[in-house]
């Protein structure tokens, strides 16, 4: 087995373990920190899937911003007594999640991905001489500002609206408690 594959399996299992920790731990702070760990390990998976820029973005956004946001929210919403974090019906939830997991895995394994229309045209392009390679920030940025320019602008508008909405909602007001 080559090095990249071994690295993928190691990083992927570490990600799954920390994601499991996120949903079963009894401490909200550990849950948030394990989420950050799991998302940053996913950034490493992106690196192994030849998406350099996305790996960087993932580590910047989740390691930098989301962790601070989550920890602030956890500090500001501290309940008086020690809360029970998991619902009484959690076995039912686990059963539902396992059913979804089995369905997803069955579909992923039984579908012949090489015969989808996009894969066929991509293979034709590869035969014609276009070589697939690591996709750097330059290629991704060029695609974002040409082919995907309108969705990109809409996304920036969405971010602006979400920022203003979060400010308006979270602002302190003189309402009675």
């Amino acid at each position: 087995m080559e090095l990249g594959a071994i690295l993928f399996y190691v990083v992927a299992s570490a990600t799954v373990v920390s994601a499991l920790g996120v949903v079963v731990t009894r401490s909200v702070v550990y849950s948030a920190l394990l989420l950050v760990l799991s998302l940053m390990l996913t950034g490493l998976v992106y690196l192994l899937l030849l998406a350099d820029f996305l790996a960087l973005v993932q580590i910047l956004i989740y390691g930098g911003t989301v962790s601070v946001l989550l920890l602030f929210a956890l500090m500001l919403t501290r309940p008086e007594q020690k809360p029970v974090l998991t619902h009484k019906g959690w076995p039912l939830a686990a059963l539902g999640a396992v059913v979804v997991l089995v369905l997803l895995i069955y579909q992923a394994v039984s579908t012949d991905w090489a015969r989808t229309a996009t894969a066929v045209s991509a293979a034709a392009g590869a035969r014609a001489g276009a070589v697939a390679s690591r996709i750097g920030p330059g290629e991704l940025g060029a695609a974002l500002f040409t082919t995907w320019a309108v969705p990109f602008e809409i996304a920036s508008l969405v971010l602006l609206v979400a920022l203003m909405g979060a400010l308006v909602i979270a602002r302190a007001s003189e309402e009675p408690r």
Binding site: V22, V23, L35, L48, L54, L70, L159
Partner: protein, 102 residues
Amino acid sequence: MVPLEHVLVFSAILFSIGLYGVMARRSAVLILIAIELMLNAVAVNLVAFAAYVDPQQFSGMVFAVFVITIAAAELGLGLAIVLRVYRMRTSVNVDDLDMMRW
């Protein structure tokens, strides 16, 4: 590189873990955290398809950029709502939030 199916199975496991978290947790912040896990699993899927199925166009990677953007916006807005609810109710337990029930 590993076969595409292995990456898809990896992302399916992450998605199911997030789904379990959304259904089993009682704190609104923990539910938001689990939603974040699910969105992340979807982004892994999109990147995998971009790398394996469609390496010339890499539309999946652009989609993953948008997923990360929307996930950040959703988390910021969701946490703002949680903060507001906490100020009204001194609780972030979703079982207590029944003001819209009639």
